[in-house]
Structures are given as C-alpha cells and as structure tokens.
C-alpha cells in the first residue's frame, strides 16, 4: 500500500529561485525508490522538505494516508523518517559512537550516557553491514567514506522506517556500494522503505524498484525500473541521450612532473603509518589514477601532494626539485592545480560569492597597484560561469548553489589556465552524468596541454575510464601499480578490487605490462 504522498510541493529560495515547482511524489511501502535529476533539479530540496529541514511554500504531505505537517526533523523522526545527508551532519570532535547516539543516548543509572552499551549496539550494526569503522574513533580522524558510513549507521541505529539517502554512494568504493546495496535490500526485506538519490544510472538499475526523474524543479517521469533503461533515463533527465563513455587517445608521456620518494606520514599514538614509504611518479601528459578503499591513505596522499600536510620522511619532487614542506601557495606558484575531496570547507568559502571563490587562486593576476581590477574580475567570472554552465550568477553566495554546482565552481577555478600538476580527488562526487562527462573532458584537456594528473577516486569506473596507469593503495602502501587499458570488464575490476582489499601482496610494477588474459590467469590462480 502507499506509504507517502507529497502533493503539489513548491519551494522558493530567495524571492525568485524555484527549487521545487508543484512536485508530486509518492512512495509505496517496502520499495526502494530512486530519484534522479541534473544538478540543481531540486532533489535535495524535496528531501529536505520531507525531512522537515525546509518548509514548503505550498503543497501537502500524506503519510500512511494521513495529512502531516513536518516542521522539524523531530517530526520526521517521530514518523520514522531518517535521512543521510550528502554533506555530513557530524561532530568531528566526538567519537563515532557519540555521533550515532546523539539525541537518543542509552542511559546508565538513568542519568549518564552509557558508552559501553552504545558502543556494543553500534558495533553490532557496523558488523552486520560490513562497515569498517571503530565506534570509539574520533570522527575527525575518519575519511570521507567512513564518515558516510557513520551517517548510515546513525540512521540504522535510529531504526528508521523510511530511509532517505542523498547521494550515499558518491564517495563509496565498489565494494562499499555493493555492501550498502545488500544492506538496503535486507532492510527492504525487513519491511523498510528507501529513497535514494544518485547520479549513477547503473545504480538506479541495480537497486531501485521505481524511479522518479526530476528536472528543473519539477517531476518529469515516474517509472518502475524494470520498464526503463539508462538511455531512456538520461533522455528524461537532460532531454538527450547521455551515456558515460570517453574517447581518449594515448599521449606520449613526458618526464616526471610529480614524484613521491619513500614518503611516510606517521600518526600520533599508533605505529601504523598513514603513508608508508609511498613511491609514485606522475609524468607530464599522464593521468595516474589512485584507487583505494577510504581509510587507506588516499586522503593523506592528497594532502601531502597539495602541501597541506607535512610529511615525516621521504621526499616529494616537483619537476625534480624537493617541494616537501612548501605551502600550497608556493606549489600553486610552481604550477599546481588542486580539486579537493572536501568541497564545502576546503574547496569553497560558502558565504562568499561565486566570483570571490573563483579568483582565490589567481587574484594576483587582477591587480593594479594593490587594487583589484573589478571590471576584469567580473568579466573573468562571468566567462567561467558560462563556460562551465554553473546555474546561478557570479554574484550570489556559493553556499546557496546545489552541491553539484558548487563542485562546478571549484573545477572552473582549478581547471582553467595551465598547470604542470593537477591533483584531483573525487572530482565527480555529486555531479550528474553530463557534468561528470564535462569534468573528464576538462581533465583530458589539461593532460593534452601537458599537465601531469594525480587522479584520486573511490570510483573505480572512472579511474579505469580515464587513467593511464592505476596505483592501488592499501593501509598507506602502494600495493599495486599497473598500466591501464580502459578495461571495464567485471574481472578486471575484481582483480584491482583484490588489491584494494589487501587480498594480494604480489606487487604489480608498471614495467610488467598486465594484459587482459594475464590478469585473468592470475585471478584464476588466486581463486583456485
């Protein structure tokens, strides 16, 4: 029977911006319902309204056939609605356990927080879904992926009946996504209902029973998944067939642009280093993809390459010169461009305008006697906003853009102009298909313009799709390094996956070329 019905939901932001335009949305009990749509289509807004974070300007919500007004997440929780936000709502200084139980803490002696019970119950949830987090770890020490897990655990712990996941898979690896999906399926078996927002159409096909397609604030179609295919979905989303494929020719690799030599980062109070004698070379005109399960040193690699984290030993060479210890500013001066994984706090300044965000790296180029040439800047910003199709003008606060558009602003800033080295981390996290495609093209442009690119991502598809060679990291070590030839086959992915999970320790050096059947043989060798 029908669990939820949202009727004629309209939401305006500012005075003019229509985020939701009389949206009708309905939900069957025990279904997994996907919502897809371009960046800024209004998916999140709709969910925020359902979860009580935003109030609709008009429209009504029926839950189990009864009209409800949801004024706050508390109301939502009472109805058994839980939400995992794309942009985490976690408290970095607290432990995982504290974050999870916050608000519904188990009590000892009626007054004290019962950390023991909390940790125990949480560990149960964690294990039953094959997550990889320690209830007593501080959240600030976790990686983006692990934080994502905490958010999910939080909701499961709260025994929500209706689960809203706003792009939960963005930062998860293949394996993590698989286990998440099996989690969702088992939850469905337990009689729970799920809404999942995603930009990856394959996931829609894999997990959902029905799918709602949104476009420009309105619903354009509701289909049961079995009746549609990816092609049709993307047609519905953007009006034209948009499928994820790249045509990329090899370019001759130049000499080394960025080189890691035995780079090590220790962590206080633990003998396992975060980075463990990492050796890695990125040549100009080369894209080195770094794959790995979150928590295995990808973040540290990103930070140290960008000069935001000092290394304890080893060397990082930039055009042959040792740059370990230089600040990001100095690196940028030498030709670094950098798209960080943390888009909301590192990559952008939410309350500043799009323009101010765009010029942070290069405002020096717009100076006359210490004064900013506002005319030139305005022109520059407008140009980028157009060429990167960012919706919302250059003068509005970037914080009010949809996550996808925030990311576009960052890309516009980093991928314009020439760079010797581009460090990109999770660049398409939260982007719709079209935008992702666009990002890949930009990165390839940079490559053909001669930049060396360090491409860190938890999304194996895109790594295989775009990288020239692939480094796999596990527990802070580079455990595998192999040439890549766009082999999208399942076996190849599994092959790499085994390295990511630390199942293989035979180091594959780039020199012994890995051919399709070669790894197939190895794979068999393993399995038998």
């Amino acid at each position: 029977m029908q669990l939820l019905e949202m009727k004629g939901i309209t939401k305006l932001y500012a005075d003019d911006l229509v985020a939701n335009d009389s949206v009708d949305f309905s939900l069957e009990e025990r279904e997994i319902h996907a919502i897809v749509g371009e960046n800024g289509a209004g998916k999140t807004t709709l969910m925020k309204i359902l979860y009580g974070l935003e109030q609709p300007d008009s429209g009504s919500i029926l839950f189990r056939g009864v009209k409800k007004s949801i004024h706050s997440p508390l109301d939502a929780n009472r109805l058994g609605i839980g939400m995992v936000h794309q942009h985490f709502k976690l408290i970095p200084d607290f432990t995982v356990a504290e974050n999870v139980v916050l608000g519904i803490e188990p009590l000892r002696a009626k007054i004290f927080v019962d950390h023991v019970t909390a940790a125990r119950e949480i560990r149960r949830v964690i294990e039953s879904h094959g997550f990889s987090i320690d209830p007593n770890a501080r959240v600030r020490s976790l990686t983006v992926g692990q934080m994502q897990q905490v958010e999910i655990v939080k909701m499961l712990y709260r025994k929500a009946e209706l689960l809203i996941l706003d792009e939960p898979t963005s930062v998860l690896t293949e394996q993590e996504i698989d286990s998440l999906f099996s989690t969702l399926r088992s939850l469905r078996e337990d009689g729970k209902t799920c809404i999942i927002i995603t930009h990856k159409l394959q996931e829609v096909m894999d997990i959902s029973d029905r799918v709602t397609v949104m476009r420009k604030g309105g619903v354009v179609a509701v289909r049961s998944t079995s009746e549609v295919d990816k092609a049709e979905l993307s047609r519905l989303m953007v009006g034209k067939n948009m499928l994820f494929q790249l045509d990329r020719k090899y370019a001759a690799c130049g000499d080394s642009a960025l080189e890691f030599k035995d780079v090590t980062i220790r962590q206080r109070g633990s003998n396992r280093p975060l980075l463990d004698r990492v050796n890695l070379t990125v040549r100009s005109c080369e894209i080195v993809g770094v794959a790995g399960v979150s928590g295995n040193g990808l973040g540290e690699l990103e930070d140290s390459a960008a000069g935001l984290r000092r290394i304890d030993s080893g060397q990082i060479l930039f055009d042959g010169q040792d740059i370990s210890g230089l600040s990001t500013g100095e690196l940028r001066a030498r030709g670094l461009a950098y798209v960080p994984a943390d888009r909301l706090h590192r990559g952008s300044s939410l309350s500043s305008t799009v323009t101010e965000n765009l010029i942070v790296t290069n405002h020096h180029n717009f100076l006359r006697a210490g004064f900013l040439k506002s005319g030139k800047i305005r022109h520059y910003a407008t140009k980028l906003v157009e060429s990167f199709a960012i919706d919302g003008g250059p003068r509005i606060a970037i914080g009010t853009l949809s996550g996808g558009n925030i990311q576009k602003v960052i890309l516009a800033r980093e991928l314009t102009g020439e760079a010797k080295i581009v460090v990109v981390s999770e660049p398409t996290w939260g982007l719709d298909v079209a935008s992702s495609q666009f990002v890949y093209e930009k990165i390839l442009e940079m490559r053909s313009a001669g930049a060396g690119i360090l491409f860190i991502s938890s999304n194996l598809d895109e790594i295989i799709g775009i990288a020239d060679s692939i480094a796999v990291m596990y527990r802070g070590k580079v455990v595998g390094f192999l040439r890549n030839e766009q082999d999208q086959s399942k076996e190849f992915k599994e092959f790499i996956g085994e390295y990511m999970l630390g199942l293989r320790d035979d180091f594959v050096s780039p020199d012994d070329f890995v051919s399709r059947d070669d790894f197939a043989v190895r794979a068999k060798g393993e399995s038998s």
Binding site: D15, A306, L308, S327, T328, G329, R332, A333, Y338, P340, H345, R346, G347, S348, S349, L350, S351, S352, T353, E356, I359, V360, T361, H363, H364, L367, G370, F371, L372, S374, R395, I396, A397, I398
Partner: protein, 348 residues
C-alpha cells in the same frame, strides 16, 4: 552573512534598524515616565536636547569621531575573524602616545607635530594589538584573551604615566601637561568641540571600506576571515592575516585616542577614553562590521550619549537611568527577528 547585499537588502536592513530603534525608544520613554518627576521635560531633553543648540549638536558629533575609529578598528578585526578585545587600552595608549609626542617637541610647527603625534599614537597601539596577533600566529595563543589582558595592564601603566612622570602639577586634575597650542585641531563648529578630526573619521571609514573590498590585502583578509582552510588551500599566506588585522585594528584605535587628545582635550587626562573601546565593539556589531555602516552606528551611539547628558542637565535623569535606557537599545538593536518582520512586510 551573504556575499553581497542587494539594494533592497540594505533598504530593509535600514528599515529594520529604524523599527528596532523606535521600539527601544518607546521603552526608554516608558522608563522615564516611571522614574522621572518631570517626564515631559526629561523626555524632551533626552531626545531633542542634543539638537537644541550648536554646542550640544557639535559635541555630539565630536563624540562620534573616536567611536568611528574604534568601530572601524573592530570591524577590520572581526571581518578577519580576529578578535580584538583590547580596544580600551589601545585607545588610551594612543592618546597618551600622541600627548607625549607633542610634549617632546613643543616648538615644532603645528602640522608636523600633529602628524608625528598621530603616527606615534597609531604605532604604539598597533604594536600593543600586534603582540596579541603575533602570539596567536606563533603559538596559537587566543588573541581575544591576550588582547583583553594586555589592554587592562596597559591602561594601568598609562595611568602611571599620566599621574606620575607627565603629571602637570599646575592643575589639580589628574592629567599630563597640556600640549602646545599649535597642535590643537581646528574647531569647525564653535562653541562646540567639533573639529577637523570629523573629516578624518569620514575619510577613514571610506578608506577602510575601499581597503577591505577593493584591494588585494583586503580581499585576502576577508577570505581568511570567512574560511581559513579555504584560504590556505587557495594559496593565501593565512598566518600573515592573523597579525595584520590586529595591527590595523590597533592603529585605528590609537588614531581614535590620538585625535581625542589633539582635537578635544589637548592633554591626556586620566581615564579620558574609558568606554571608547567597548562602545567601539558595539558600534561595529551594530554596523554588521561594515565600515560604512560604522558611521551611522557611531552617530546613533553619540546621540544616546548626548541625550543622556542633556537629560541629566535639562531633566532629572541620573547616570543609572541613562545606562538602563542605553541597555534597552543594545538589547534590541541587533535583533534579527525584528528585521525579519520588516522583510516579510516588504515581500508580501
């Protein structure tokens, strides 16, 4: 804190401000009715008094001058997310420095002396505030607390110099020797004390505005203020902007104090600038840390002060009542909820 404010945004802010002020004035009138034996006379003195003659009017504007400087000083710091709670001591020290400079060169030509005095004032106070910024940069010692403590200590040390080495035995006020006549700023609205420093104040507000919004350093400072990690990532030398705002803030406070001496008192009198620092914070916050907003905010402040004074002369209001009245306005002047009432009206 949105990036820029649209014209309509500014308008509704102004209307909101008007509303809150009217509302709190209402409370003040109520209060006077409760406590005054001659309410009508007192209310008149409180609200109209400051405009009733050139002397009051001029002095009111003159009180606004140092408030503009301290308000700007705080705005600069706060916009950079650097907290300067040392305003009190910095204004005081600035005033004293200016005085000492003038006393050191009694025969110098007027302009030279003034210039030197103001340089001295700005430098001394900038240094005092700069220390806190430096400690923050070097060892991450909270600048808010260190500036507050330093200011408290500095104020006492200034007291020593005013009542000790530089005390003028010829008068019985606790004050230094008077500075030479030629260093006094030109009065522009006699008999009141209003002087050319008023123009400097306006100029300062405009300059600070331009600096913050149109210059390289200003941009980097604001970015650091909004998000330091983002700024470091963007290649800005973040640590520099823990010190620079403090120095600027201190300098502005110092100028405020120096101009009080040159323009109004012609000597450093014990405690002459007390309250200027705290009120500067209030002024800045009322102005939402907008350098241009500081001008009206400081005027509002000076008006309250003048109103209280004239109510004490023309009515039967006492200090306490005046400060209660002021507290009402403080309570409401930044109340967002009241502003929103206006916004909603204007939307519907």
């Amino acid at each position: 804190m949105k990036g820029r404010q649209s014209a309509s945004g500014v308008l509704s802010t102004v209307m909101g401000l008007a509303l809150t002020i009217l509302f709190s004035f209402g409370l003040v009138i109520l209060l006077i009715f409760l406590l005054s034996k001659m309410p009508a006379k007192t209310i008149y003195a409180f609200f109209i008094g400051p405009f009733s003659n050139k002397y009051y009017l001029g002095n009111m504007l003159n009180v606004a001058v140092p408030l503009i400087f301290t308000g700007l000083g705080i705005a600069v710091a706060f916009k950079s997310s650097v907290f300067n709670l040392g305003g009190e001591g910095q204004v005081y020290a600035g005033g004293l420095a200016a005085t000492i400079a003038c006393l050191a060169i009694p025969h110098a030509p007027g302009l030279v002396g003034m210039a030197l005095a103001l340089v001295a004032a700005a430098t001394v106070s900038a240094a005092i505030a700069g220390f806190s910024g430096f400690f923050r940069m070097k060892w991450d010692a909270d600048e808010m607390i260190s500036s507050f403590l330093l200011s408290a200590a500095v104020a006492l040390v200034c007291n020593y110099f005013i009542t000790g080495p530089f005390d003028d035995p010829n008068n019985n006020i606790l004050s230094t020797y008077p500075i030479a006549k030629q260093f006094g700023l030109l009065k522009i609205f006699p008999p009141s004390k209003l002087n050319v420093s008023a123009f400097l104040a306006i100029a300062a507000a405009i300059l600070v505005y331009i600096f913050m919004n149109k210059t390289h350093a200003g941009y980097e400072m604001r970015m650091c203020g909004l998000n330091r990690e983002f700024s470091r990532y963007g290649g800005i030398k973040v640590s520099r902007y823990l010190v620079l705002p403090m120095i600027l803030s201190g300098a502005l406070h110092g100028l405020g104090g120096g101009l009080m001496v040159l323009g109004t008192y012609q000597a450093a009198i014990k405690g002459f600038s007390f309250g200027m620092g705290w009120n500067g914070i209030a002024v800045a916050l009322i102005a939402r840390n907008n350098p241009l907003g500081v001008l009206p905010a400081a005027l509002l402040f000076a008006y309250l002060d003048a109103g209280a004074k004239s109510a004490m002369l023309g009515g039967d209001v006492t200090f306490e009542i005046a400060s209660i009245a002021q507290s009402f306005i403080f309570y409401l002047v930044t109340a967002q909820a009241l502003y929103d009432i206006v916004r909603k009206r204007r939307r519907a």
